[in-house]
Symmetry: C2
Subunit: 129 residues, 2 copies
């Protein structure tokens, strides 16, 4: 029942991670951790993202309370995004994960090559006989 509990607990975790660790979130979070940014400022900082995806990412992050959106009613309007206190607390666990990735990238690269080699051997084995 321990296991079953973990699995039930896990569903919201998964949903949350999907929202916070999606394709562009880390770049955005990274940028907003340094300073508050305007929309187009973020686009320039992350050139590969499209308007649509950036908007979607910002909405998701805002919805989950890790960033805040404030509108200054000038003409034309100015919009400023900034990280929230909650968002700041996300930094250290995420950084830990990225640090893990950096440190172990060589080992992972080796593992991938070995895997590819094993695959090749298998297929040539099947062909031989």
């Amino acid at each position: 029942m321990d296991t079953a509990d973990e699995l039930r607990i896990e569903a919201p975790h998964r949903e949350l991670l999907d929202q916070i660790l999606d394709k562009w979130s880390l770049s955005v979070l990274n940028e907003l951790c340094e300073r508050p940014c305007r929309f187009n400022e973020l686009r320039r900082a992350i050139p590969q993202v499209t308007q649509k995806s950036l908007t979607a990412t910002l909405r998701r992050l805002e919805r989950n309370g890790v960033i805040a959106r404030e509108v200054v009613s000038t003409r034309p309007v100015a919009v400023r995004y900034r990280i929230t206190p909650l968002g700041k607390t996300l930094r250290s666990p995420v950084d830990a994960l990225l640090a893990w990735a950096s440190q172990n990238m060589p080992a992972i690269e080796r593992a991938r090559q070995e895997f590819a080699t094993r695959e090749e051997e298998e297929s040539s084995f099947r062909l031989e006989r």
Copy 2:
């Protein structure tokens, strides 16, 4: 150019996170951290996963060197999956992230409700006028 560097570095990170933090990986990793498992043992432990997705998940994790697959050539064959030393090192950063999620779930829930409320107000505002 600091920024540009970070972004170029980030691509492999993203790819890696996509492979390791995908829908079922955490459950599988969690299970294999406790003990080595047979294929169907994992299915029973994680009842919601389909054969196909479990196979795909195991292959991905194996490819990246965090789990190992060993085949015992009996009849019928027995397959055993176990966590690798590399895989074990993944635990602490992942746990940190899950701990963050658990701790802040209430705050996130509040943020979502506020967001929903703001959305409603906006749409009713537009209808009024």
